[in-house]
Amino acid sequence: MKKLLNTLYITLPDAYLALKGENVVIVQDEEVIGRVPLHNLEAICTFGRQGASPALMAACMEKSIAITFLSTSGRFRGRVIGSTKGNVTLRRTQYRFADDEEKSTEISKHFLIGKLYNAKWSLERITRDHALRIDLEKFKTKSAFLSESIQQLTVADNLEVLRGIEGNAASAYFSVMDDMILQQKEDFFYKGRSRRPPLDNVNALLSFVYTLLASDVGAALETVGLDAYVGFLHRDRPGRMSLALDVMEELRSVYADRFVLSLINKKQVQASDFLKKESGAVIMTDKARKEILQLWQKRKEEQITHPFLKEKISWGLVPHAQAMLLARFLRGDLDAYPPFLWK
């Protein structure tokens, strides 16, 4: 498995990125405030307004380091990547599969089985770890419902049916999201998903972390030569990384949601990290964003054993492993796409 290199996150809104020798330098108010050698980096993610120099972009393209530009509030604006990697035959196969309802259904089924399996085991984990603090009965019911939904998925035969099963299962899972918040309940609660803008602290956290995950998954897909914009479950929409969203499904609960919950439950975020605007929109402070990114990067370095590869890898490489396995399946090396099934 390839090595996990660092992602450089730039959260200062007024920072400008430039190239100096083989380093990326971070410039603010015409002063160099940071310097990182490019060979340590896999990706650069900037939340700044100022952008990056063309020379830096060229150097990153050469070294296959993706630069992702996000708005200061974390919305994806675009990405600079080098020449498309991988072979045109693989992408053609991807497009052919995407055009074929039956094949798209088979792949999407595995994405969603992964999603519900992981959601189910996230709930089971809570019942095991915090049996005394939660409504066990409620969790067991939801978990059983998810098991049933997985059974339904295995026999579903078109995308509409898949989406229906997923919709119901997702609302079952999110109906106990609030019960999984065990600390700071007065400031952190979940009453339903709100986006663009998020209307409470939990949604602000979820949106931010989903963006990070989508960006990691998108980069991983491009690295193995797949087109991150052409999905199977998510259909094409200009500017949307549909395939990244597809592959992300199975990682949402175990990777993103659990990260958000642990931020709250371990009190690594506080109410003071959020600001409520007049419109009801909730935005995060720069300080909070910076701290969360550091924890995110740390989380990515934790080692796990991949359930299918049975190989020790870091959490941060899971998107890469799944992208690689998907490419393997499309190429015909594997009999199906193996989702990341995590207990």
């Binding site: 390839k2 399996y117 295995t154 393997r328 009999d335 193996p338």
Partner: protein
Amino acid sequence: MTVYDSSEFLSLSGIQHFEFCERQWALIHIEQEWEENVLTIEGNQLHERTDDPFIREKRKGVLYVRGLPVHSAILGLTGICDVVEFYKDENGVTLDKEEGKYLPIPVEYKRGKPKKDQSDIFQLTAQAICLEDMLFCKVSQGSLFYHEIRRRIDVEITEELKKQVKETARRMHEYYQRRHTPRVKTGKHCKNCSLRHICLPELLTKESVASYMKRMLAE
């Protein structure tokens, strides 16, 4: 005999990949996968020094040409010879700007030491066939220079070798036309492969996804 059009030419250096592992060749040349590692970077640096096409020297009647682009329509391969030495020889051919007749000897520079497999010899043989095709002469000698042991090993380019290389080139074209990445047996050679992180040879012997799903969902 098949004669390939230049648009179909494959990379000559690929023949050593193909001989080392057919899957490795397909990953690099069909799937365009490549991962730089210490060994490949060292190799590049070595070639930077030997490949300069603007160096042409003559010492003691021998002409040394570096970075010589060659191809063969019979093999359907194109590539660059690190160094070609031209020796005065009555059976040779005339060269532009030179007096007398010459015969070429290709010299290929390698980072490591002599290998157990034939891959380097095959690459050299392919270069010899290209030189024969382009210069209309017979090439029956070549040399491999191994950087690690700093020794030059002379290789006799036999008719049998040429036959094997032609057959190998034919198989390369056949796979390329089908865009076929063969599955091959894993072995000791996988340890020295720069693509093992992409190839993941063990993956080919893993349980099927069907049984993985069944096992995990049964728990």
